[in-house]
């Protein structure tokens, strides 16, 4: 809840700061003079400043709630308690006066082994205790253990820091909360603060350090590049095979009624089946090795490419074909110089979609079963609670997916500049 409110606050503050104060002070551009902006593409283009601030905000929030060392510490959300805390408990035994004793708790970071400190026993039948508890964890402190009268002889904790307490109730003390368990043993929970536990969300720099480490040393017998390379290799091979079969199939379907009739039911049926749903069958048939993955990606790309090629062929304007005929072109020449180039924009659109689907599918397939690959990396890391590797993997998968799309767009602009211009 608090992170969401902070996020909204940053959004609103940045909006007013940038649009009203910084950009509003400059000259009005033409767009701002328009009164009709709905449905006008030129009127709503992404605000660059908003984009940059948006990304910075994500890292900022990440840093705030993980106590990142990249941020000055006054920006950190309150962190978990660390250090020594003390509280007193009051023990009572039937027929005797209650006696107080002090408990000293050392709260230490998880990765740092710490011994409970030595303390003086003190006077009375209740003796002073000590404990060491890791941050984010809780600890039962069996205070009666060293007392002169044991629990089984009727030694009961009735108050913490002088406040009455019964089993199930809590008392706030320095550095945390003491709750009396059902059996009457105090349970100390150190204050957690608002930061995320590193186990769930490591700080950005921790992810960065781990990325460098994995890049240098590898993960599970393969280097980082090999993991990513395997995923990419599967995508590229699966996609190429899919395109190699799908495009001619699409052409045949666009040009011949027999092919159209024969393959339409198959294509139309397979199209809405998500490739992920094929993973179990592919594993049964082809196992978890390369062959299975490539078959899966081949199938993912095949239908998309066939449909793209089919609509590219069917979409040719009849006047273009007529023009070519009356300019003396033969059937083959029309195929080569009219039908094929005319279908390329559609095929490129299909290829972009197919690459995106393949990338998503390969990661999912690797999550299920693989010896290497981006998906396998994050799945294995998650089993060992290496959240930093999981986050690194997700970021890399996103970056690569984005890169693939950018590459396809660039190729499209370069190779079919006439797209959408007919």
């Amino acid at each position: 809840m608090i992170p969401l409110l902070i996020y909204i606050a940053i959004f609103v503050a940045a909006f007013f700061l940038v649009t009203k104060v910084v950009q509003g002070a400059g000259l009005k551009d033409y767009t701002s003079l328009k009164t009709v902006t709905f449905g006008d593409e030129s009127a709503v283009r992404p605000n660059r400043a908003a984009g940059v601030i948006s990304i910075l905000t994500i890292f900022l929030m990440w840093g705030i709630f993980t106590g990142s060392s990249l941020l000055p510490s006054f920006l950190h959300a309150p962190g978990p308690f660390e250090g020594t805390a003390t509280f007193t408990y009051t023990a009572q035994v039937e027929g005797q006066a209650p006696d107080d004793a002090t408990v000293t708790v050392v709260v230490h970071p998880r990765e740092q082994e710490t011994e409970a400190p030595q303390v003086e026993p003190g006077d009375g039948f209740a003796k002073n205790d000590s404990a060491a508890i890791a941050q984010w964890r809780t600890g039962l402190i069996n205070v009666a253990r060293n007392d002169e009268i044991s629990k089984s002889d009727g030694n009961q904790v009735i108050a913490i820091n002088g406040q009455k307490i019964a089993p199930g109730e809590s008392v706030e003390v320095e550095g945390g909360v003491v709750t009396l368990s059902d059996k009457g043993t105090p349970n100390f929970q150190p204050t957690r603060g608002w930061q995320m536990e590193p186990l769930y969300l490591p700080a950005p720099e921790a992810v960065w350090v781990r990325s460098i480490e994995i890049a240098k040393e590898g993960f599970r017998n393969f280097t980082l590049l090999e993991h990513l390379g395997y995923s990419l290799f599967r995508v590229v091979v699966g996609f190429l095979l899919g395109a190699l079969v799908g495009i001619p199939l699409g052409y045949a379907m666009g040009l011949s009624d027999w092919f159209r009739g024969w393959f339409d039911p198959i294509v139309e049926f397979m199209r809405p089946v998500p490739p992920l749903a094929l993973i179990p069958l592919v594993i049964i048939w082809a196992g978890i090795g390369e062959a299975g993955k490539i078959i899966l990606l081949f199938l993912a790309a095949l239908w998309i490419m066939a449909i793209a090629a089919r609509s590219g062929v069917s979409g040719v304007k009849i006047s273009k074909v007529h023009a070519a005929y009356s300019l003396g072109a033969s059937k083959w020449q029309i195929m080569r110089y009219v039908i094929v180039p005319n279908s390329l924009p559609e095929i490129f659109t299909g290829a972009r979609v197919a690459m995106g689907v393949c990338w998503g599918t390969v990661v999912a397939a690797e999550l299920v079963a693989a010896e290497q690959g981006a998906g396998m990396m994050i799945m294995t890391a998650s089993k060992f609670q290496n959240t930093d590797i999981v986050i690194m993997g997700i970021i890399l998968i996103g970056v690569i997916g984005f890169g693939i799309d950018m590459l396809m767009r660039w190729a499209e602009r370069l190779l079919v500049p006439w797209k959408g211009k007919g």
């Binding site: 304007k317 006047s319 273009k320 007529h322 023009a323 070519a324 005929y325 009356s326 300019l327 003396g328 072109a329 033969s330 020449q333 110089y337 009219v338 180039p341 005319n342 390329l344 079919v416 500049p417 006439w418 211009k421 007919g422």
Partner: protein
């Protein structure tokens, strides 16, 4: 025998629902080589169908087509076609579009380049040679289409409302260009248009077609095309015969359109 002869041409479309449309009925027409015929008529009277049959894209239900002594049996480079718009190949540059016909025939590059250069000069697009066709204005695109058609040196040029999508001013310039090209190349031209003025200005001969079934309603021989070759088309329009002719044909087509509208009302 040179020229185009259309003999008792009929075209009937059978519709999937069992109905049929008599798009053309018993159309006969003789065109001498080098004649420019403009075709007018309300929409749906079979103008495009007639042109498509002459181009060879459609086989007529009955009738005979003879060009320069041989039967027409399908599309051929001897009959070039200029469409209204969107028939250029946008994946090719202006030069490649114009050179398309010669390329298909395997004309040597030197000859092809010469033809293309010459035609680009004629239509005034030499500076746009390497541009993509979608970078040109509508008028320029139609000039490319004309040049592309001429590059094949066809005997007959078929035009289906080639200037229909252009603005008035560009259209006027293009009309002069068509006349100039006609005179210079001596091609036989069939031009379909919706504009009565255009039909009068460009057509040495003019036929008005009537619908249901599609047939030739009336034919004219006109002096304006010859006058327009050397004169400003606006001057030609001031010719004493021009106004009355325009009124006459406008009324004729108007009446036909009324009849169609009336007919559909009766049917409804």
């Amino acid at each position: 025998m040179t020229g185009l002869s259309i003999q008792n041409l009929s075209m009937r479309f059978d519709l999937p629902n069992g109905d049929h449309v008599q798009a053309l009925q018993d159309v006969s027409l003789d065109l001498k080589a080098g004649e420019l015929l403009s075709v007018l008529g309300p929409s749906g009277c079979g103008k495009t169908t007639l042109l498509n049959i002459v181009a060879g894209f459609l086989a007529p239900t009955s009738g005979k087509l003879v060009l320069n002594g041989h039967d027409i049996k399908g599309p051929d480079a001897e009959r070039g076609m200029v469409f209204q718009q969107g028939a250029l190949f946008e994946w090719m540059s202006v030069r490649e579009n114009v050179g398309f016909g010669p390329s298909m025939k395997g004309t040597p590059k030197i000859d092809k380049d010469k033809t293309v250069d010459h035609l680009l000069d004629v239509v005034g697009l030499q500076d746009f040679k390497e541009k993509a066709v979608y970078e040109l204005s509508g008028g320029m695109q139609q000039r490319v289409a004309l040049a592309r058609c001429l590059a094949n040196d066809p005997d007959v040029i078929l035009m289906d409302e080639p200037l229909g999508a252009l603005d008035a001013l560009t259209r006027e310039k293009m009309q002069s260009l068509v006349l100039k090209l006609w005179k210079e190349t001596g091609k036989t031209i069939i031009l379909i248009t919706h504009s009565v003025e255009e039909a009068l200005l460009l057509g040495e001969r003019l036929i008005v077609m009537a619908p249901r079934p599609g047939r030739i309603h009336k034919e004219y021989r006109l002096p304006f095309a010859d006058l327009g070759v050397d004169a400003d088309l606006r001057e030609v329009k001031k010719h004493p015969e021009f106004g009355p002719r325009r009124e006459e044909i406008l009324n004729m087509i108007w009446d036909m359109e009324e009849e169609i509208m009336g007919g559909t009302e009766d049917a409804a």
